[in-house]
Symmetry: C2
Subunit: 562 residues, 2 copies
């Protein structure tokens, strides 16, 4: 069908952190950053000792339990060069990239790793692998880009069976584009930049840009029910992914691309968010759009969080159809100002322009101001018209526009945040994210409750801690709230992290919000699933998984609460 | 929670046909209608003998097998006045309103009817009924408005267990409206006009207007994954229904209203389209919208089907966001012209205006012209702007606008078609509908294949037959095609109907289209489910149903192929 990609051409992130070797966060050109970190988490970057890159040789990697016979059988399917039990490959496929994952891998805490990693060339090989693994009662964990932060990828400690990490990296072609329908068939292992480049060459875009875009795959997006930064226009992956091919024991589930269907409970929606538990996604037919003539991101300021959220709600209710609606709370706004490069972006406005004076004259408290980014895409006249509709609403809610300059910077650095997290970890502070969604009427309450929960957790730790938030992904009836938190850790960073993370997740479900808007469930969010979808919901989902995978060969232990 | 509605205030359609007593189709004011029927299906309305209203007393209604003990148990839950085994109630709850249903009930063909009909007042009573029925190993078939045409409601002949028709008609309140979020909690038995009136009084609309609107319920919409005429703007019920409460044995499934969530495979999407097989829907939290300032439906003509479909596709790909995009093929266009009231609507244009002359001058063949309706909603300026975007696209595709006059008529008579079907049945012609969805690139092919299939079936019958179609419900990657077919029947109308219907359904799945876009599966479409979602899809769905309902107490025999 397509030319097989060489296994060595499959890119993985570095085993001990986010992204590729040689790229990292630095703050030499961000004079406000170090004071901000000192203020936020009490960490003095001037005196903190930076942990060096960990040594792979020091790692205790669990031995592979794969029998020679089983490995040979796998090799007979894909060729010996595409099966491996070597330690580096198995470590790379052990965890995703949550802060828990990074802490564990750096602290030599690998209780269980895959026993064998395999790189099939095509769907037929995936089918043979699945059939062989199920026949041998092995465990299969599909692996895309490895960027998951919900614990969806890791093997369960205590799993006695042989665990196969099935890496889809060689399946990365855009197979064809149905230009009349705006539908592209894409192999599941295709990573964001790769597939977008293949589409762009023919004048198309997928319009799906999650934070993980640079390292995640279309199969992973489907498996975790991902959302992208421009989902207001293009939809979440649940809207974008129309057709699917999923390899299951004995056969391929084929869901043809359909704009909509009432053929019973949606099997398509069962695969979405299934995290490998219903089979191995090999191909997704996604909606694609012609690259828009115009794409602008404008920045706005609001006097405070409540007025900003009210404006976002009013936009979602209006006739306007922006591609991005995003607002940072006052703390995330102060973070953005501190981390901007000197004399660029929003900090330039604040430092050099008349803006602070204007804000003060309006009676704004500069500690409360909230920075918003709103995007417009389409024809030149459409983008202009949408902006005028939005500008009116912003004005009515007491906000003010500050042009497209900061938006351009937002666009350029939107995929860089994970590198910052690695840098802070090197310096002694742990940070990660929790995100949720709730109806508009609940958002301010969720925000307050999460802040109170985090404060409570930090007090318990007796430690300085930071939390900030933005709202993104608007829908008619609600939106996503995205929280970033960080603290300087002590002796047991995982336990300390769990205390904060758990407090935040509990605040979500206690306040009408869901356990995750677009990161999936994995192990990280499963303890709250029952409180999210009720006992009967868990029963129905359990029945789905158990009937589809009675011997629990597919990514066992994930999603469902223990 | 709400004041209980009296059982006698629950409206049902007449037992032998669509709608309410005393309302029917007549053609005295439509001079073109009789000649059209003669031309289309060879039926002479001047000489045909109209079947009178059937006599209920002549019906052989199967005896109820409900034991006195069981009926008494049910009566102890809801009160004796809200349980009945009387024949009329059981017949009313036996079938939906497909042509097969009408033919069977009129020809005294009731092989199995519910044994007992029950009208709970609230969710707590539904729970008690469900628990009692499951304990007694009885069958539960939830009943909303009874308008289903996919065979989703009828008991399976040969079912030896006691069958309970659980009528939600007393649960019909709009409980509350979250005005900040645009979300309304509505009891599942609420019928379209009733709930829309309750919403309208407070300035809101649900925006969901299926053809069955006047007699269907919000619970039924969810259970069959319904779409409405304005779904281009408001979404299908799958988009509109955010929260749900579903009574299951031993407890209530509670899905809180969320704008989006990645909490594993969507249980919400499992309830959507489940046709009562996963429990009894008692409440749905739906998106509601403020009644728009402006709502217009404009009519357009295209020289032929291909140019019209191309224009609809171009609109869906453009920045324009109309609320309705609909185009009739040339045959449905000729039907619309024939059935218009004299000197009104589109026929007026054709009969009295310069339009036919203009079309001919453009080189159009009047036999090929296609009538389109496109709707615009929102602020006055938004509706105007959308129309200008659409007008440009129509022009580019060779079409022409003819104003809003015909659109107003479309709006007024949009819910009347089922009455016409009953009239034709009285006169000796059977008609019904089949609808589907497919990617844009496949629509013209599906249309041609369905026509060929219907022609083949009519030839086999040796009978005159008619088929016509329109496209509606546009999505980014495709649209719905809706076919209406009719023929004068002979000795075995059901067998003749099956021949035509089966040919059409087979043409759907053979040509990249689904078995149903918005009517559900029931018994009518289940034979093609495997060809639609593949064997593995059916296996997954079967596992879902069997694990959630191991003794098959909930609407057994539906959706899954035999």
């Amino acid at each position: 069908m397509t030319n097989a990609i060489d296994r060595n051409a499959v890119h993985h992130m570095k085993w001990w952190g986010w992204g590729v070797d040689g790229v990292g966060f630095h703050h030499e050109d961000k004079p406000g950053f170090a004071p901000f970190v000192k203020f936020a988490v009490g960490l003095d970057l001037g005196t903190a000792v930076r942990t060096g890159e960990p040594s792979f040789d020091d790692l205790n990697v669990p031995l592979s339990n794969a029998t020679e016979e089983f490995t040979a059988e796998l090799a007979s399917i894909v060729g010996a060069e595409n099966v491996t039990t070597d330690d580096m490959a198995r470590v790379v496929h052990t965890y995703g990239k949550s802060i828990r994952d990074l802490i564990r891998v750096r602290s030599n805490t690998i209780l269980r790793s895959p026993d064998v990693v395999i790189y099939p060339a095509d769907e037929a090989e995936v089918q043979q692998i699945v059939d062989a693994a199920v026949a041998a009662n092995a465990v299969i964990i599909p692996f895309g880009g490895g960027s998951n932060i919900a614990g969806s990828l890791e093997p369960i400690p205590g799993e006695a069976r042989t665990i196969v990490s099935l890496d889809l990296g060689r399946l990365r072609a855009v197979i064809d584009i149905d230009t009349d329908s705006g539908l592209a068939r894409i192999q599941a292992g295709s990573q964001g930049p790769d597939l977008e480049e293949q589409l762009n060459k023919q004048g198309w875009t997928i319009g799906h840009f999650p934070d993980s875009f640079t390292h995640s795959t279309v199969g992973g997006w489907v498996a975790t029910r991902s959302s992208g930064m421009q989902s207001d226009k293009y939809g979440d992956i649940a809207n974008i992914a129309r057709g699917m091919r999923v390899v299951r024991p004995g056969g391929v589930l084929v869901l043809r691309p359909l704009p909509s269907t009432s053929s019973g409970p949606s099997v398509r929606e069962m695969i979405l968010g299934s995290e490998g538990k219903l089979g191995v996604i090999t191909e997704v037919t996604v909606q694609v759009h012609r690259i828009p003539e115009k794409r602008d991101v404008y920045a706005y300021f609001f006097p405070n969080w409540k007025s900003g959220i009210a404006a976002m709600q009013a936009i979602s209710e209006s006739d306007a159809t922006p591609s991005i609606t995003r607002i940072s709370d006052s703390r995330e706004t102060s973070f953005s100002l501190a981390t901007s490069k000197n004399r660029k972006g929003v900090s330039k406005f604040m430092a050099e322009s008349a803006l602070p004076g204007i804000m003060k004259a309006k009676g704004w408290n500069l500690d409360d101001i909230c920075l918003s980014f709103i995007g417009f895409e389409g024809s030149v006249s459409h983008a202009k018209h949408q902006k005028s509709l939005v500008d009116d609403i912003v004005k009515k809610h007491g906000g003010m526009g500050v042009g497209s300059g900061p938006g351009i910077l937002y666009d350029q650095k939107k995929f860089d945040t994970p590198y910052l997290r690695d840098f802070l970890l090197d310096m002694g502070a742990a940070g990660d994210v929790s995100e949720t969604a709730a109806p508009w009427s609940k958002l301010v309450g969720v925000h307050e409750a999460v802040y109170a929960a985090a404060r409570g957790a930090y007090e318990q730790l007796g430690n300085d801690g930071w939390i900030m938030s933005h709202m993104s992904h608007s829908y008619h009836s609600g939106a996503c709230l995205y929280f970033t938190f960080a603290f300087t850790f002590g002796d047991d960073p995982i336990a300390e992290y769990n205390l904060v993370k758990n407090a935040i997740q509990q605040a979500f479900v206690d306040n009408h919000a869901t356990i995750s808007h677009h990161h999936g469930v994995g192990l990280e969010h499963s303890p709250w699933l029952t409180q999210d979808i009720s006992e009967e919901g868990v029963k129905i989902m359990t029945g789905l998984f158990e009937s589809a995978d009675p011997a629990q060969n597919f990514n066992p232990g994930k999603i469902l609460p223990k």
